[in-house]
């Protein structure tokens, strides 16, 4: 257990700059969102909504008015496409750490000592979880800071239950991609695992948007994990979709289980 803690600490230490920079950027971007949201009036949002192209209106659906509001813009940090992509990439990068350790030969030095192989995976899961929590906290911190600095006195931020729901939704999505990437990371070289997981994530994202635009694709839309990521509904005030979260959770758990299985059976070689 002590060895596993040392391994976790080392991994965290090596990732600290990446995590700090990403976290600070997220917080800063969130504060900026609050500033932008505060600098527009309700009528501005109506004008912006009217300017939206039909395809974007289709994707947003009935949530368009909720999303294009002070509250919607502030909450956007939890589902902004750029942020989601950045966080998925960050998660994939960290989740494929075992592949990097095997490729570089560092795993040889670790596993030649009295340490079980599964700790490579358990440590990575812990690292991914901690990263997700840290990033969500930084978004939250950015929201608080932005509200304190830029929000008009009468403006109230998103309610706690909504923030928690959006955070949980995003966390499950990231955990899901962490699981997928970890399964790849346990089986392949990092040069394969990272592009493969990223490509699948990108394809799944495209599929999700495509099935929203073309109903004919709905029959395969369920294959995309992004279908179960429903922040627009949450912004509209819908309750947390537990079924969707369970699907994302199940994908993550399957990925982790596959990773454990592969790492305990494979040859550790470059």
């Amino acid at each position: 257990m002590r060895s596993a803690f040392l391994l976790f600490r080392l991994s965290l230490k090596r990732a600290r700059i990446l995590l700090c920079v990403t976290g600070l950027l997220l917080a800063g971007f969130q504060a900026l969102r609050v500033h932008i949201a505060a600098s527009h009036s309700a009528s501005d949002y109506e004008q912006i909504a009217a300017l939206l192209p039909p395809s974007v209106r289709t994707i947003l659906g009935p949530s368009v008015t909720s999303v294009l509001s002070f509250n919607g813009i502030v909450c956007g940090g939890y589902f902004d496409l750029g942020i989601v992509i950045a966080l998925v990439v960050l998660t994939i990068t960290l989740a494929t750490l075992p592949a990097v350790e095997i490729e570089t030969g560092f795993a040889d030095l670790i596993l030649a000592r009295p340490m079980r192989r599964h700790w490579l995976i358990s440590r990575t899961i812990a690292l991914v979880l901690l990263t997700i929590l840290l990033m969500l906290f930084m978004i939250l911190a950015g929201t608080w800071a932005g509200m304190a600095m830029f929000a008009p006195p009468d403006a109230s931020g998103p309610p706690a239950w909504q923030t928690a729901s959006l955070a949980l939704d995003l966390a499950m999505l990231l955990l899901c991609w962490g699981g997928v990437a970890m399964a790849f990371g346990a089986a392949c070289r990092p040069g394969v695992a990272r592009p493969a997981a990223s490509l699948i994530a990108f394809a799944a994202l495209l599929l999700d948007y495509a099935q929203k635009l073309w109903p004919a694709l709905e029959c395969v839309g369920w294959l995309s994990p992004f279908k179960y990521f429903t922040p627009f509904e949450l912004v509209m005030g819908d309750p947390l979709p537990v079924d969707n979260l369970l699907v994302l959770w199940a994908i993550a758990m399957t990925g982790f289980t596959v990773a454990y299985f592969i790492i305990s059976h494979r040859d550790i070689s470059r």
């Binding site: 080392l10 090596r14 570089t104 030095l109 596993l111 030649a112 000592r113 070689s269």
Partner: protein, 322 residues
């Protein structure tokens, strides 16, 4: 089977004084086989290394040396066979087995953003037995890795410095078994000498050394026994002394007068060069018959070159190649 035919003395030399006969062998390998699809990297390897022994694992690139080592460390899973370290099965009791090993890989995989000290501390923390800091400092001093060197990031290290760090991490916990894969690769001659000194010290302390190498002089100097792997199979298992006996001694005889007689050489003797004043011979076995043959001839001088392990090993390599 090929390897059994070639084993001149499978029992090897007497165990070192420090070895305990009642204790299990340091390494015991039975029928170890590793296949990658149609490719057989290691085929039916059988080996027993006693505690306190220094054992050299020889072979050309791709002969299966590193595969065997990685199987012992449970980094690779065998297709067949089993291996034990101090009586602990390398797979079912891998933690116990690996707790007794100090391992130096052939290619060190280090994180270049860490300092030398961070790397050593981290790897020391993974061992069960605590690392004596004074012992580690002594190792650093002997290998001339200063405190300021240890504070530098590994990306600033030369190949030799990384190798030294690798040696220190393997030796720092004073493990009873050292598994060293090409240990002196990248070390300058002075550091190689220091390394041999370190090996001699740990051997005196009763540790077992299992090293792979293709530097024959190194193996000859350090090891009690050797095994030669060829295409995944053991071609030779012998004590170093015994293997030298397999090689003929080179004898040079100088005459002070012309000698025209055609000698009738005893078995095991081969005339490789003959001039009126000089004979060169390869002599396998005792020299007595040759001395008897030279009796009465005008011998001015005689030089006998000791048999070298290199000659034996090269012969096996060549046989494999042909």
């Amino acid at each position: 089977m090929q390897n059994h035919e070639a084993i001149p003395n499978a029992s090897g030399p007497n165990p070192p004084a420090s070895a305990d006969r009642t204790s299990p062998p340091a390494i015991s390998i039975r029928g170890l086989t590793k296949r990658y699809g149609p490719l057989t990297a290691l085929n039916d390897l059988n080996l027993e290394i006693r505690q306190g022994e220094s054992f050299g694992f020889l072979g050309l690139n791709g002969a299966g040396k590193t595969t065997a080592i990685r199987l012992l460390l449970d980094l690779l899973r065998p297709t067949n066979g089993r291996a034990c370290i101090f009586g602990y099965d390398c797979w079912s009791e891998g933690l116990e087995a690996r707790a007794r090993i100090g391992y130096l890989p052939g290619e060190l995989g280090l994180y270049l953003d860490l300092t030398g000290l961070e790397t050593l501390d981290f790897l020391a923390g993974l061992n069960r037995q605590p690392v004596d800091k004074r012992h580690r400092q002594e190792l650093c001093d002997r290998l001339e890795l200063s405190r300021s060197d240890l504070r530098r990031r590994l990306r600033q290290y030369s190949t030799g410095m990384k190798r030294k760090l690798g040696i220190i991490q393997a030796f720092q916990a004073n493990p009873p078994l050292l598994i060293l894969d090409e240990p002196t690769e990248g070390l300058d001659p002075l550091m190689q000498e220091t390394f041999y000194g370190l090996l001699a010290d740990v051997k005196r302390g009763g540790a077992t050394v299992f090293m792979s190498s293709h530097v024959l002089t190194e193996v000859e100097r350090v090891c009690d026994r050797i095994a030669l792997l060829r295409k995944g199979e053991m071609a030779l298992l012998s004590s170093v002394r015994e293997s030298r006996r397999l090689a003929p001694r080179r004898v040079r005889v100088l005459f002070n007068e012309d000698v025209t007689v055609q000698p009738e050489l005893p078995p095991g003797h081969q005339l490789t060069e003959k001039t009126p004043r000089l004979w060169r011979l390869d002599v396998a076995g005792p020299l007595g018959p040759l001395l008897a043959l030279l009796e009465g001839l005008p011998v001015e001088d005689m030089e006998i070159e000791e048999a070298r392990l290199e000659d034996v090993v090269l012969r096996y390599y060549r046989e494999g190649a042909s």
